[in-house]
Symmetry: C2
Subunit: 216 residues, 2 copies
DNA sequence: CATGAGCCGTACCGTACGTTACGGTACGGC
DNA sequence: GCCGTACCGTAACGTACGGTACGGCTCATG
């Protein structure tokens, strides 16, 4: 089990360095070199190694730093009417899709995926737990509250979340990761979030449809 | 516009070399070196460079070679009863999910994603056009035949396919790419394909539900 | 003021890897 | 039998980059 989500507390100066590294990571991808980071951040390589140990540690710190900055708006599961639930889910979808299609998320996922192939670094796990899993932890209480209020119908909230994730993201993330430059506009994000919410409620809503969610 | 899907016709010996490289790619990830390929394939590096130009060319050839080997079963859109359509979609889903969760696909996508970040190589595009887009081209005629027969209801077959893709794959691919070792069993694949097909038909089926696909 | 910690800039080391070069071998055609 | 071609094996070259060492600067603390 991964311990804490954010167990990294950088000093202001370290934050500046990490921001510079983040910018470089977005523009240069995995070609990020220690020398380039030092140059961009106007610090010495020795400092980088003192602070972060090695390149691996720097990358890990970058991921955690970014994770600590991204805020998906907290949703309060108290508005339990159908309209409020729908809006909560849709807003969540907008935030999630906005983050996932952002160039920072794309760059971060790219390096994590690169390293997941060869060395046994924990980068992939860190991204997974600060990204995908953290998202599930946010939305699932809302879904369960919706179920408790008789608005939704599902057995496993994890499975329900995964379906929502699929309806929302579809092939967008993998296409962006592979370099397919479909300029994801904010309007597109809102449209997609609305569509995914509609479809999710059509599948898991407990309205008198009767046969939308049977398990064969 | 990408020209042809398979414009690469290797000799048998070249196929052997590419198979060896493919095996190394799966086990070693992007740490694939020219020396390792030559050693594994029992050929000289000079031959590699004569045949493929440079490392980039070798990777490109590997991707195309694998793409030429993967066969998603062709579906004939003639069986237009509801049951046949459902089975066609479900079989397609099984094949697609099986390929996507295979270690070869994961390794290939990893290197393509790595290179999409830095250099301007076409690897990402090649993977995209031989993978995701080729799949769409396979299923869309089936979906359109289903619509023509009054069994499905959608406006845009591309959008419909993307929704099916999302319902089928959900977060599975990105988790595998990030190194999340959820042993994807064949049984799980069949279950997922069945579930995705159910959900897809629930959303896009033209059965007397009446309000599953309105555009707000 | 003295001192020492922390940091910057830079030079440097070791190594890994892409790429090239070259000697040696097998084989089909003249 | 000789030549050209294609290939293997290996050595060598150039470069890029991770990591380290060191001199000099700043500044807080005693």
């Amino acid at each position: 089990m991964p311990a804490t989500l954010v167990d990294f507390e950088p000093t202001p100066r370290q934050g500046e360095v990490l921001d510079a590294a983040l910018g470089l990571l977005v523009s240069a991808g995995d070609a990020l070199t220690m020398s380039a980071v030092a140059r961009q951040a106007k610090c010495s390589k020795e400092t980088l190694y003192n602070w972060f140990g090695d390149r691996q540690g720097l990358l890990t710190a970058i991921v955690k730093w970014q994770a600590s900055k991204v805020g998906i708006p907290e949703i309060d599961p108290t508005r339990l009417d159908a309209q409020g639930l729908r809006r909560s889910i849709e807003n969540f979808g907008q935030s999630l899709l906005g983050v996932l299609t952002g160039e920072i998320s794309v760059a971060l996922n790219r390096v994590a995926i690169s390293h997941a192939g060869s060395d046994h670094s924990q980068l992939g796990n860190i991204v997974l737990h600060n990204g995908r899993f953290a998202m599930g932890r946010r939305l699932k209480p809302v879904l369960e509250a919706g179920r408790a209020a008789g608005l939704l119908n599902f057995e496993n909230s994890e499975e329900a979340f995964r379906s929502f994730f699929g309806l929302l993201v579809r092939d967008t993330q993998i296409r962006l990761l592979l370099g397919d430059a479909e300029a994801t506009s904010p309007g597109q994000i809102n449209t997609d979030a609305a569509r995914a919410t509609e479809q999710f409620i059509a599948l898991f809503g407990a309205f008198p449809s009767g046969d939308t969610s049977p398990d064969p």
